[in-house]
């Protein structure tokens, strides 16, 4: 077959880069408690360090199957989870590690699940793409695009019926805005005024394809909001403060009966789509620019500017490193699940019998 032709219609890495917005410096002066900010700093680090460890374990061939990391996108999970009430609901995709950890899933159980161990949060049965921890409000990671937006509606509807003021927050990617279920979910959320917040993490790519090539509007979520009677909301998904404030507003609105929101958080993944992907279809300049907008050093600087001593931050980083090391030990030490697990929990009676 002929050699590759350097044509941006073909080779997406040759297209003009899509660069990040500059940091909104005014965010530093937003009235957010230092405790909340430090908590967010810790979360950013937890998500980052844990994910890097997952990647290392993948390279060591201990994580089988596939993994989808959120490296670079941590501010979205961080800002939202910080704005949520413990009994609120999270719905995420296969790229759900950050969301799971941010809601309080045990890092060791999460890692053990990736390793397919019986001490995994799902006993090894779900795997990387399905992290779920109902007790923590982490209502699942869903690996087929679209469905979970509809399911999140159901949880919000249930909260509405039960009168609990709970809110469901549903995360998904830019590519997901083009699937039918997105449309059905948004419409239903609006007509029933459901307490649900839809969060599109626009990282500019659906797997290996630039989102604009396959999307009729420039902003995949925001430009669709009016089709559901909703306001277009865009937030810098690499700024934890901006995300937190936007999240809080939308969640408060939902909690107080104001109905759903659709938020587009602009962000970028540092690595490839999934484990084996080097992410080469992206212009080098684009990757560099976004790595320069990494939420973690930026937030580190902001906290310093706001007066947090460096050693406080270093302390947090070290503490998280310890957590991740312990999680790794926990995960590695777990036994592989066996026959008992195989036939467990198909049905509510705990078993798998389908005939007498």
């Amino acid at each position: 077959m002929p050699t590759e032709i350097a044509d941006p219609r073909y080779d997406y890495a040759l297209r003009p880069p899509r660069l990040p917005q500059p940091v909104d410096e005014s965010m530093a002066s937003q009235p957010i408690d230092t405790d909340i900010r430090l908590g967010m700093y810790r979360k950013l680090h937890l998500l980052r360090q844990w994910s890097k460890r997952a990647h290392d374990l993948f390279l060591q061939n201990l994580v089988k199957g596939t993994t989808h990391l959120s490296l670079g996108q941590e501010a979205v999970a961080t800002g939202f989870s910080t704005a949520m009430r413990p009994d609120d609901y999270t719905f995420a995709t296969y790229r759900g590690h950050a969301h799971s950890l941010s809601r309080g899933m045990d890092p060791g159980e999460a890692l053990a699940e990736l390793l397919g161990r019986s001490n995994g949060v799902l006993g090894g049965k779900g795997g990387s793409m399905h992290l779920t921890d109902v007790e923590k409000g982490m209502m699942g990671s869903y690996a087929i695009i679209g469905a979970h937006l509809c399911i999140a509606n159901g949880a919000a509807w249930s909260a509405q019926m039960r009168g609990t003021d709970q809110v469901a927050v549903c995360f998904f990617g830019d590519g997901t805005t083009n699937i039918g279920a997105f449309h059905e979910a948004l419409n239903m959320a609006k007509i029933w005024s459901l307490p649900v917040v839809f969060v599109c993490e626009n990282n500019l790519y659906m797997e290996y394809t630039p989102i604009d090539i396959v999307t009729a509007v420039p902003r995949p979520a925001a430009d669709r909001a009016p089709a559901y009677g909703l306001d277009p909301i865009v937030v810098d998904g690499n700024d934890p403060d901006a995300v937190y404030l936007t999240a809080k507003a939308a969640i408060d609105k939902a909690r107080s009966g104001g109905g759903p929101s659709l938020i587009e958080a602009q962000t970028y993944r540092h690595g490839g789509h999934s484990r084996a992907d080097p992410g080469k279809y992206r212009p080098a300049e684009e990757i560099e620019a976004w790595k320069g907008r990494d939420p973690i050093p930026m937030y580190h600087d902001r906290l310093l500017t706001l007066g947090t001593p460096e050693e406080t931050l270093t302390g947090i980083e070290r503490e998280v490193a310890g957590v991740v090391d312990a999680a790794t030990e926990f995960a590695k030490s777990g036994p592989e699940p066996g026959e008992a697990e195989l036939f467990r929990n198909v049905w509510a009676d705990g078993g798998a019998e389908w005939r007498n």
Binding site: L122, T132, G154
Partner: protein, 327 residues
């Protein structure tokens, strides 16, 4: 005792459960004010109000997804899909999400929900509104599947389905809507996973489902006149499957027939026959025979549809011809 049609039994069964469990809700297209296109939900809006009986947009994925999300957070739900053909539009939600979530989460997530839908042909609606898709659902691990053939069974199995902590697909048959019978007083609660022997017999066993049940019974009547004693089993529940009742009957008769409305290839009878020939092999006096709709889409014209779906004549003649030796 009241005389109730199959159609009325649906609303009756739902109402019984909604009175029992104030959390139970239902959603679907045109189910509230209109009472459903098959009039199977008439009266429910009046009794339970618009917050528990919800009209939806034409958004089957959103409907079934909402049912799932509500069920996993403590609200039992009945979702209606107007025609069972539309199961396909939300198949991802049913086959990939609802069926698998309990297992994938190792039991963290419970899904007490029922998907009700009008199944089957005989009403000249053509290939996209007449399918028998019970076999689609039967083949997915994690789904329970029932298909009642009488008004009383509709009520009792509806109760069993609603009370079951697992997701159940509940097939109401379009051709049975007008069938009517006396139903017992008081609460009616049945059990999933139980077939029923509707007619005892000694020569052949005929297993049938839903609209094929009355046909099998009529054929058995005619066979009896010819001296062939047919045991007729209403399978009722495809998942769980009551193999014990079926195997017990075959071990007695030695001859096994299925009467299936689903198209031939991988109809529910293929599973049942495979089990029977595996586990009752040495009891069999001859091959198991599946009487099915041919492996074609269902045609609309009355004359064609009547040829396609198993008829009393076809059942009678097939058994007569093949079981002759054992009669």
């Amino acid at each position: 005792m009241a005389q109730l049609s199959y159609r009325e039994a649906v609303a009756y069964g739902i109402a019984q459960e909604m009175r029992r469990d104030p959390k139970l809700v239902m959603l679907g297209e045109d189910i509230a004010a209109a009472g459903g296109v098959f009039k199977t939900t008439v009266g429910l809006l009046d009794e339970f109000g618009p917050d528990r009986i919800k009209d939806t947009p034409i958004s089957e994925q959103a409907i079934v997804g909402a049912a799932m999300g509500a069920a996993m957070t403590g609200i039992p739900v009945i979702a209606e899909l107007m025609f069972s053909d539309f199961v396909a539009v939300t198949w991802d939600m049913i086959a990939n999400e609802i069926a698998k979530t309990r297992y994938m989460t190792d039991g963290q997530v419970a899904l007490p929900l029922v998907i009700r839908t009008a199944n089957g042909g005989g009403v000249r609606f053509g290939a996209q509104h007449s399918q028998s898709v019970e076999n689609w659902c039967m083949m997915i691990p994690g789904l329970k599947v029932v298909a009642p053939s009488t008004p009383t069974d509709v009520i009792g199995l509806m109760a069993a389905s609603v009370r079951d902590p697992d997701p159940v697909v509940f097939f109401e048959h379009k051709a049975l809507m007008a069938m009517s019978e006396e139903i017992p007083d008081g609460e009616i609660v049945d059990e999933l996973g139980k077939a029923k022997i509707l007619r005892e017999g000694t020569d052949v066993t005929i297993a049938a489902l839903a609209a094929m049940v009355p046909k099998a019974l009529e054929a058995a009547e005619r066979l009896a006149a010819d001296g062939i004693s047919a045991e007729v089993i209403d399978v009722r529940s495809l998942m769980p499957l009551d193999t014990r009742t079926i195997l017990g009957s075959v071990s007695k008769t030695g001859r096994f027939y299925t009467v299936e409305e689903n198209p031939r290839v991988l109809g529910w009878g293929a599973e049942v026959v495979s089990i029977v020939t595996d586990e009752a092999f040495w009891d069999l006096d001859g091959p198991c025979i599946r009487i099915t709709t041919p492996h074609i889409p269902l045609p609309a014209a009355a004359s064609l549809e009547d040829m396609a779906i198993p008829s009393v004549d076809r059942i009678y003649e097939t058994v007569r011809r093949t079981a002759g030796g054992s009669a």
